[in-house]
Amino acid sequence: MNEPRRFLDDDDASPEVRRLLAAAERPGAPDPARLARSRRRVMALASLPMVGGSLVLVQKLALGALLGSVVGLGVEVGRRTLAPAPPVASVVVPSAQRPAVPKAPRPSVALQPTPELPAPEPPASAPSPSASQRTAASQPPVLPPSPSAGVTRELELLEAARRLVDADPARALGLLEQHARESPHGTLVIERELLVIQALARSGRLAEAKARAARFRAAHPESLYEERITRILAP
């Protein structure tokens, strides 16, 4: 087979076609800085728990899980409950009835943003003393949405939550709730759910974590993360 002649090399080609193609610029290789940023995101991605399966399947399942996820999250952070008003199925436990949550001091290292992560903004108004007494250790680091919220933004939030989940699970839950608000149908909904289970367990809210895990298992019976969930819920 002979190589066809390119329009631009063919004097018989339509002048209009040649005019448009002459104005085109070749797609360039991504510059090193852009590749480096992409690499950092992929490193963060690699550190997240992932559920195997096709994206389409994951997104379909995620929609099912979402109903339980958003409704059931009900994490009290600061002076308000960030989750939507919980219906009957809610598993929100009033804070007074919850097991005591370890009030670890805010580890400064946990507040440091990743290289790509915007620094947490201070709350718009300072909480009242009575409120701050209850929420001092659980004030969520709110990350301002990026101009183009998408999977990159999802990843920022989940990576920040993952870093906090052991040291400050209440703050991690705040970030996960932020993810639920910003990306209710996001690509990483299932990964969020795993982190929520982990954060609830780390907070001492084992009953809630188990309830979430049961829903997760029902929605994803073939999850590759059964062992991981079992480990999270182990006393």
Binding site: M1, E3, P4, R6, F7, L8, S14, E16, V17, R19, L20, L21, A22, A23, A24, E25, R26, P27, A29, P30, R34, L35, R37, S38, R39, R41, V42, M43, L45, A46, L48, M50, V51, G52, G53, S54, L55, V58, S148, G150, V151, T152, L155, T187, L188, L224, Y225, E227
Partner: protein, 179 residues
């Protein structure tokens, strides 16, 4: 991916990125993902790769597999872009050359690029990619076949269809201008 127990493929995601990120960037550009959404689209490709890496059997070239993932992501981004009715000049503005021949030349070139973007955006992504690789990047058909991991005959037939589609779209623009 040593630390990830779910990865049974033997591939490391970061290494995969190091080796193939440029290919993914280029492919998404060729498939018509907007410059402003390129980073997010690349990220989405690697999210899918991360989720599905364990299903990759190695019977195909990894770039062929990545191309398939990028194609699906590109379709989704293009649909979203259409819904948002983005400014068609956006891509052009980021590629205005420094050596443009004065304001009129810039305007002329910008208009040509806008029309080119319009024509390309109307094309089926796989055809668009082959056309861009051949007509704009000036890759040979053999190079295209190797890069996309498709048979040479497929490149020829896809290129022929793409060129016809491109020509028809340009004719429509010209007719529209003459009307």
């Amino acid at each position: 991916m040593g630390a990830d127990p779910t990865n049974t493929s033997g591939f490391d995601l970061v290494e995969l990125h190091d080796e193939h990120a440029a290919f993914v960037f280029r492919t998404l550009q060729r498939l018509g993902v907007r410059e402003s959404e390129l980073d997010d689209a690349v990220q989405e490709v690697f999210v899918v790769v991360h989720k599905k890496l364990h299903t990759f059997r190695g019977s195909a070239r990894i770039t062929t597999w990545l191309y398939g993932v990028a194609l699906r992501v590109a379709y989704r981004f293009r649909r979203t872009a259409r819904r948002r009715r983005e400014d068609p000049n956006e891509l052009d503005q980021s590629h205005v050359p420094d050596s443009s021949p004065g304001p009129e030349g810039v305007a002329f070139e910008r208009e040509a690029r806008r029309q080119l973007a319009e024509v390309l955006d109307g094309m089926d992504p796989p055809k668009r990619a082959v056309l861009v690789m051949f007509e704009i990047e000036r890759l040979s058909t053999t190079q295209i076949a190797a890069e996309l991991g498709i048979p040479l005959g497929t490149v020829y037939s896809r290129l022929r269809a793409a060129r016809e589609q491109f020509q028809r779209a340009v004719d429509r623009i010209r007719e529209g201008e003459g009307a």
